[in-house]
Symmetry: C2
Subunit: 223 residues, 2 copies
Amino acid sequence: MQTEKPILYNYFRSSSSWRVRIALELKKIDYEYKPISLIKDGGEQYSEEYTKINPKQEVPALYIDGQLLLQSLPIIEYLDETRPNEYELLPKDPAKRAKARMIAEIINSGMQPFQNLNVIRRVAKETQSEDKKQEWIKFYLTKGFKAVEDILKDTSGKYCIDNQITIADLCLVPQVYSAKRFNIDMIGFPNVKRVNEELEKVPEFVRAHAHHQIDTPQELKEN
Amino acid sequence: MQTEKPILYNYFRSSSSWRVRIALELKKIDYEYKPISLIKDGGEQYSEEYTKINPKQEVPALYIDGQLLLQSLPIIEYLDETRPNEYELLPKDPAKRAKARMIAEIINSGMQPFQNLNVIRRVAKETQSEDKKQEWIKFYLTKGFKAVEDILKDTSGKYCIDNQITIADLCLVPQVYSAKRFNIDMIGFPNVKRVNEELEKVPEFVRAHAHHQIDTPQELKEN
């Protein structure tokens, strides 16, 4: 099936890019990393060249099996369906699959859109206020973490769903990192915190971390 | 498996509720319709009673098989996995499954969050401007439809993916309805328009329509 090396168009700090990097690591897929800076020159995702590749002008985009796939969750489901290995990113039990997808979706559609760089720039511009922007981010991230925490109380073991790494975990780690950047108080979310700390130790999660990519700025790189 | 009748907590005009209603119709599942008005008394989703049922204070929520499921796309995937019938809401081919999920996700995480009632109220309040609110909605919906249209050029037959009704179609119809409410010009999206018109004829889609529910206001009801 796989003749060419897959290409991941992504950005070190983009949380949805990061989710796909973890999936590629867990699935042991060798891929070409093409950095698309969301900052440089007003955003390289708007360049003519990248717009031809991905008209939605967003990262991530994964070129694999002769086609370009967009949207992190569908990409992860595709990798799980076409590259079965010891990491099954969706549990076998339908109720647990649903719970894993619920956590992933609360983060993907209930939190990430509201911290998206373009969205928060727009909020800051329209309100003419950095404080309003910060309030906006805090409101949606806190709301989302409350919902995730509430599910984790019932579902979590070592990871979000029992002791199996799932699509929910791939979303959780980048989201907690973003929350720290935006100074969100995590004290009310002990299960989120605990699971995140466990996941941060997993070698595949370490390799996919925002601070360990070729486009990570020198000052953020960890040894 | 199913001993009690499933309960759908939902609102006639909520686009994510509507997606689940279509899935329930296609899967021929008899369910109890519990209206949660997003308007009445400042929003019934914030009531103490509903918060106990769903702490995320959102619709839809589906009580089924002894558990409460949240988030429309995970609910639809669960129904498809546990209630196989002649309507397979995800195609068999992994690449086509990915395309169906991509369309669903562009709508779910790239469009719907930005027209969500609470979000647009917040935008109107912070900017003190109804025009800014309208601009905001137009920006995100147009961006999303462009991306969907671009995919449909390659994937669509009678419906979003060939001639099979999929999760993508369940998202498309309520989104086009919302776009009309917000006066979005659909002229640049001929494939979206064509597929939507086909889907509107399907009896299960007709029964799930916002204008045909028990909580639809009299003035919107069609005969």
